[in-house]
Amino acid sequence: MNLTDEIKKIFFNNHLKDLIEEIKNSNIEYFDQNTEVPESYYISRCGNKEVKVFVLDDFSSQLRVYWEDNNELNNEKFIESIIKLSKELFESEKESEEISEFIYQMF
C-alpha cells in the first residue's frame, strides 16, 4: 500500500467508521426509501427563482454551508478533516484516464 492509500485508510478508520455506524443506528435516510407508493415520485424545484450559474468559493466553506443548510453532517471537526485530506490528496492524486466497463462513471 503506498503512502496515499495509507492516508485514505487512516482517514476512514479515524473519521468514517464511527460515522457509518452512527448513521446505521439512526433513522437517517439519504435516499428516498419510503415504502409508500405515492401518486408521483417527482421532487419539485423552485423553478424560475433559482440562480443557475454561480461562483463557488473554496470547497470547505461551500461544503460547510451546504451541510448546514440541510442540517446534515454538521460536525466542524469532521469538515475540517475532510478539507485537510483533500489538500493532501490534491498533491498526490492524478486524473485517471480509465473508464470502467462495469459501473457507470458517476464518481
Partner: protein, 612 residues
C-alpha cells in the same frame, strides 16, 4: 465588446469544451478526438486549446469559464452513498476519495493552471447544463425541456421549460432512481461495456421479444402514470459495489451476466427488447407529463438517454408534441456547450436571436476543427504520400460518387469535425447502401468487427420520404424510423429458438433495396442532409443519386473499432492505411489505396483499440 464564454465538462466521461461568443456557438469538441483515448474523462486541455484557437482569442479575453457540474453536490451524493452502503465501505472509500477529493473538487485550480490566467470560473448544475444544451441551440423560442441520464449531482431526470433566454426546471427525480443507470445495468448484464456499449443494447433489441417487460415493471422499476419512477435498489449493485447488477438481479433473470465476447443468446435479445420497451414507455410518459405541466408545443431533450434514437422515434411518432429537437451531443460532452450557453444567456444577459429560416443554431453540429487544403497538402507532401489535388468541387464529387457506385469504400474527411458521437459527413466512411456486401465488408474489413447492427443512412433531406417513413428532418441521426414498405423485401422468419451467432448472418440478409442500412425490424437510424448545413455532402449524395437512382449513402464513423472518430489528416491517413478502405478524401485531395506504400507492419494498435 464581445462576450466569450468557455464551457467545460470533465472528469466523468466524454470531457469536452465549447466556446460561445455573444450567445453564438463558435466551437465545441470532445477531448477524446485530440487525445485519441475513447471517452477520455481527463481535463480537456486539447479541446480547450482548440476552442481558443477557433475563437482566436487569448484566455484573458474570456468573460468566464463555466463548469458543467456542481462538485459540492456531487461530492455530497457520492459521500452519502458511501455512508449508507451496507458493505464494502472501505473499498468504496479507497476508490472514490482520490478522484473526488484529490481531483474533482479542485476543478477551478485545473482551469486556472491550464489557461494560466485569473479567469472568472463559474459553475452550474449538471442537468441545467443538459437542459441548456437542448434548449438554446434549438430553433424554438419556447419549449418543454426533458433531460434524462445516469446521474448528475443528485438529479437523474428533470422536466422544465425554456422561454426565450430563460430556462427553469420544475420537477426532478433523484439518485439512485435513474433510467440511465437502469439501462446501463442491462447493458452490463447483457455483456456489453458500461459507459460505451449502451447503444449496442439498443441495436440488439429488434432481435428479441419484450417478454420481460412486465416482470421488470413489477420488480425493478415502478413507473407512475406521470412518468415518474422508482427503482428497487435491492436488485442493483451500483450503490454498494463496483458493478451495475447483483446476485438478486442475476437470480431474477435466471443466470449470471453474459460474459463479454461470448455468444449472444435469446435471453439477451429478449432483455434488450424488454428494457427498450420500458425506456420507451418511461420517455413517453415523462414527455406527456412535461406537456401537461408546461403546456408547450415543442420539446427538447438531452442527457444520455436522449441518444436512444429508437425511443426518440417513438416520441416523435406519438405526436405528443408538434416539434422535437435533440442535442446531438446529448451525453456529458454536451454539458460543456450547455454550460457556456447558460452563462451567456442567463448570467451575462445576451439576447437570444433565433434564425429567420427557422433552423437550429447547432449548424449541423460541425463545430470542431477543420484543416485547410494547405495543411492537408503539407502533411501529405512532408510524408510523400501520393495524392491527386482536385480543386473543383464538382469534379471531386463526381469521382467520389462514381467510386462509391462501383462498390468502393471511401473515407470522407471534409470541413469541420462533428460534435457529438455521430459522424455526419465531416468524418465519415461512405459506402453503397444497395450492395448487400457493403455491410459485411465495412464490418469485417474496415471496422474489424462482427456486428449485429446495420449502418446508418445519410439521405438528402428533400428525398427522405422516398426511403423512410419520417416527416421531419433528422440532421443529427437522432431518430430511428421505418424503411418505406415498398422498399422492403420479405424474408423467411428464422425459426431457431437460439439465434446465437446467427445474428451476424441475419443482419446481412436483404431486407430492402437498401440492405446495408436496414435493421432486422426494417428500421434505420436516419441522417438527413440539408445543403445549408453541409453543401458538399448534399451534392455528393445528389450526384450518387444521378448515377444510381438512389439518394442515400451508407455513413459510418471514420475510425477503426474502439478508436475515437478521426480528427486530423494524420488520424485519417493512419485509419485509411490500417483498413481496407479504397479511397481517402482529405478536403481537395484524393488518395487511392493502390498508390500508397504499406505502413510498417504494426498491429499493436489492435490491442490499443479494443472491441467495445
Amino acid at each position: 465588446m464581445s462576450i466569450y464564454v468557455l464551457g467545460v465538462s470533465a472528469f466523468y466521461h466524454d470531457s469536452a469544451a465549447a466556446i460561445v461568443k455573444d450567445g453564438e456557438i463558435i466551437a465545441a469538441a470532445q477531448e477524446e478526438r485530440f487525445s485519441r483515448k475513447k471517452h477520455d474523462p481527463r481535463f480537456p486541455i486539447n479541446a480547450i486549446n482548440y476552442c481558443l484557437e477557433e475563437a482566436y482569442i487569448e484566455p484573458d479575453k474570456l468573460e468566464a469559464v463555466v463548469f458543467y457540474d456542481n462538485p459540492i453536490l456531487t461530492f455530497d451524493r457520492v459521500f452519502k452513498t458511501l455512508l449508507t452502503a451496507k458493505s464494502n465501505q472501505l473499498e468504496q472509500w479507497m476508490r472514490i476519495s482520490g478522484s473526488m477529493l484529490g481531483v474533482k473538487i479542485h476543478v477551478e485550480r485545473y482551469i486556472k493552471k491550464v489557461l494560466n490566467c485569473d479567469v472568472k470560473v463559474l459553475f452550474t448544475e449538471h442537468h441545467f447544463s443538459h437542459a441548456a444544451s437542448a434548449f438554446y441551440p434549438s430553433p424554438f423560442d419556447e419549449s418543454a425541456i426533458v433531460t434524462l441520464d445516469g446521474v448528475g449531482e443528485w438529479a437523474t431526470t428533470t422536466i422544465g421549460e425554456g422561454n426565450g433566454e430563460n430556462i427553469s426546471i420544475h420537477k426532478e427525480i433523484h439518485f439512485p432512481h435513474s433510467l440511465g443507470l437502469l439501462y446501463s445495468a442491462f447493458t452490463y448484464y447483457c455483456g456489453f461495456k458500461v459507459n460505451s456499449g449502451e447503444y449496442k443494447l439498443m441495436g440488439l433489441a429488434p432481435y428479441g421479444e419484450p417478454i420481460y417487460v412486465d416482470s421488470i415493471k413489477k420488480k425493478l422499476i415502478d413507473i407512475r402514470s406521470d412518468g415518474s419512477f422508482r427503482l428497487n435498489t435491492e436488485y442493483f449493485g451500483y450503490i454498494e459495489d463496483n458493478v451495475m447488477t447483483n446476485e438478486k438481479f442475476s437470480d431474477f433473470f435466471g443466470g449470471k451476466p453474459r460474459k463479454p465476447e461470448t455468444e449472444i443468446t435469446t435471453r439477451e435479445m429478449n432483455l434488450a427488447a424488454s428494457i427498450q420497451k420500458v425506456i420507451e414507455e418511461s420517455v413517453l410518459k415523462i414527455a406527456g407529463h412535461a406537456k401537461a405541466i408546461t403546456g408547450k408545443g415543442n420539446i427538447v431533450l438531452a442527457g444520455g438517454i436522449a441518444l436512444n434514437c429508437v425511443a426518440n422515434g417513438k416520441l416523435l411518432e406519438s405526436g405528443i408534441f408538434n416539434k422535437m429537437w435533440i442535442q446531438p451531443a446529448a451525453g456529458d460532452a454536451g454539458g460543456a456547450l450547455g454550460a457556456a450557453l447558460l452563462a451567456s444567456y442567463d448570467k451575462f444577459g445576451i439576447k437570444r436571436i433565433l434564425r429567420e429560416d427557422g433552423r437550429d443554431m447547432q449548424r449541423g453540429s460541425y463545430l470542431g476543427p477543420n484543416y485547410s487544403n494547405n495543411e492537408v497538402q503539407s502533411y501529405l507532401e512532408k510524408n510523400e504520400y501520393p495524392y491527386h489535388n482536385i480543386e473543383d468541387l464538382h469534379d471531386r464529387i463526381t469521382i467520389i460518387a462514381e467510386a462509391i457506385s462501383n462498390g468502393k469504400i471511401v473515407g470522407y474527411f471534409s470541413g469541420r469535425m462533428e460534435y457529438g458521437p455521430r459522424a455526419l459527413g465531416g468524418r465519415s466512411i461512405l459506402g453503397d447502401p444497395r450492395n448487400p456486401k457493403t455491410q459485411s465488408r465495412m464490418n469485417l474489413k474496415i471496422k474489424y468487427r462482427e456486428s449485429f447492427r446495420p449502418f446508418a443512412p445519410s439521405v438528402m433531406y428533400d428525398k427522405v420520404n422516398d426511403y423512410f417513413d419520417i416527416e421531419v428532418e433528422s440532421p443529427y441521426m437522432m431518430f430511428v424510423a421505418p424503411v418505406r414498405k415498398r422498399r422492403r423485401r420479405k424474408i423467411a422468419k428464422n425459426e431457431s429458438s437460439n439465434l446465437g451467432n446467427e445474428l451476424y448472418r441475419i443482419i446481412n440478409q436483404r431486407r430492402s433495396d437498401i440492405p446495408a442500412v436496414t435493421h432486422v425490424d426494417c428500421s434505420a437510424r436516419i441522417q438527413t442532409i440539408n445543403p445549408n448545413d453541409k453543401k458538399d455532402y448534399y451534392e455528393l449524395i445528389s450526384k450518387f443519386e444521378q448515377l444510381t437512382g438512389y439518394g442515400v449513402l451508407v455513413n459510418t464513423s471514420f475510425n477503426v473499432r474502439g478508436e475515437p472518430i478521426v480528427c486530423s489528416p494524420h488520424d485519417a491517413y493512419i485509419c485509411f492505411m490500417r483498413t481496407e478502405m479504397d479511397i481517402l478524401v482529405l478536403e481537395n485531395c484524393i488518395l487511392y489505396k493502390e498508390d500508397q506504400t504499406e505502413l510498417d507492419k504494426d498491429n499493436s494498435w489492435k490491442d490499443e483499440y479494443e472491441l467495445d
